[in-house]
Amino acid sequence: MAALRVGQSLAPRTARRLALLSFVLPLLLWSAVSYIPFVWHPLILITDPGDVDYFQPGMRMDRADFRTEVAHAVAAHKPVPQGVPANPIYLPPPHAVFLALFTAFATPPATQDGNWLHESLWHSIQVIFWGFVISSILGVPLGILCGAYAPISKLSEPFVEFFRYLPAPAFGALAVSILGIYDGPKIAIIVIGTFFQQVLIIANTTRKLDFSLVEAALTLGTDQRRMLTRVVIPAILPDLYRDQRILLGWAWTYLIVAELIGTTSGITWFITQQARYQHFPNVYAGIAMIGIIGFGTDALLGLLARRLFPWERSIAAQFGASTA
């Protein structure tokens, strides 16, 4: 492999291959641990209990304990228990998880008042959506105003800066007592987790605006009101959009904590239920689902950016492979 060089740019094909590899490598590692018997496999999965009374088929035993029991059986000339090396139940092999990604949707809810997986997911998406929208309705304008006007910045940013160190989950109990046990407090946690970062990030983005554009607009007779709507906002829009994508990712990271507050709901409910019954492939499938939705949304938003901001070269470069 060629030596790494700072600022080196890659051929589109190499870039695509490396991107694919970034998924394939962890998958290979997981497969190796799962399928190659002598890699890890600290337990024995019992296939035939032999004469050991507490053994049962499908049971997972510590290797050492299993060996002791085998030795006893051999010494006593009794039927010897049989088993194969196995990983702990919390590490299912890839194929089980991939299978679970499909079967989980087809499995009816365990209880009468339970939800299908797609219902749980849809519920989570709604919580995220409303949390992010409410945060953005407040945070984006405030961030832009802070970035554009020094007095507004000085008046609000120090407090926002302080507040962002308060962990959003800390407000869980408070949110429940004010907003009840259903979606209210969950959305509130996501708003609290997103809003304060949002104000600061967008204020900074606004401050990075190329001031010579403002001066050029001034010499063209732009008044203060239209300076904001016709120059500042359009100028920062591509960066603002990028910020929003990053912030949406952060909102997802608050989802699980938010859904545990009050009555557990959404994908979190699914995951905790499945973990309780030790359906670990389903647990991983549920977690992976969050990743797939989050990652997929971001990729879609990235593609959309190309349409929205045809003048942005950095966005074009990001997806340069297909435009070139």
């Binding site: 010579s212 554009l213 001066e215 050029a216 607009a217 001034l218 010499t219 063209l220 007779g221 732009t222 008044d223 239209r226 016709r230 120059v231 359009p234 100028a235 829009l237 901001f309 045809p310 003048w311 942005e312 070269r313």
Partner: protein, 297 residues
Amino acid sequence: MTLPGYLDLAPDVRARFERLKARDVILQVEHLTKQFETRAGRTLALNDISFTTHRREFLCIVGPSGCGKSTLVRILAGLDRQSAGAVLLAGKPVTGPGADRGMVFQGYTLFPWLTVKRNVMFGLEMNNHGRAEAEREALQWLDLIGLGRYAEAYPHQLSGGMKQRVAIARALANQPRILLMDEPFSALDAQTRARMQSYLLEIWRKIDITIVFITHDLDEAIFLADRILVLKANPGEVAELIEVPVPRPRHPRQFAGPEFRATKDRLEALIHPPALGDDADAYPEMPRLTNVADEVE
């Protein structure tokens, strides 16, 4: 051969200056002073600058780096406030930026999110012209600068020279009284710059505009200007106001002409005064840093 004095004007040039001075005064700068207060202390950037510019005059401002050229033009544009003195535009004091003074900057300041056409329309829309009218005028301007084909292109698709042409059109579309230009061509390569200079003179001839043009390129100043305001540094003061004796219409051929060379010599003398004392000051003794015995000269 002895050069003619830079003050000796040929009869037709003299007549042109008489006509120029008979026109109204558009810009009047009176005892302009600008002091910057910084943590390090005060800098007197401009000290008691006075001059006047007549309608349709082409005034160039030259001077050593740091003499306050940019500061001066920013005050004229209303982007900075003077510490003392006054700027009068057609008799009225300048108090802030306005559409009556267009400006072209050294850096590229086209709005990247607008097409070329929308960039040129921008000022017209800001000054409450209708959208349709703005569009019609913008297209006329684009034709005038020869970029009609690029109306729907975005600025990042243009070369540097094309960007500056659009920037000129954008400033002129507002029909300002005066066009301020701060080293607008200094980022361009030599050929493009020469072409832009000819373009600018062509535009200037066709429309009723007074141009104040800052440059550090003396050839450029002589080629473009009716008069050249020479500033000196520390503090920025007027060194001299030169009436350029080179006849119009200007042509690059004139660079070798006697009037041109006389003017340039005078500018050189003003801007790079001969070093005081002997040359030792200018070229301090330098240690030899090579081991190769071979002499290059």
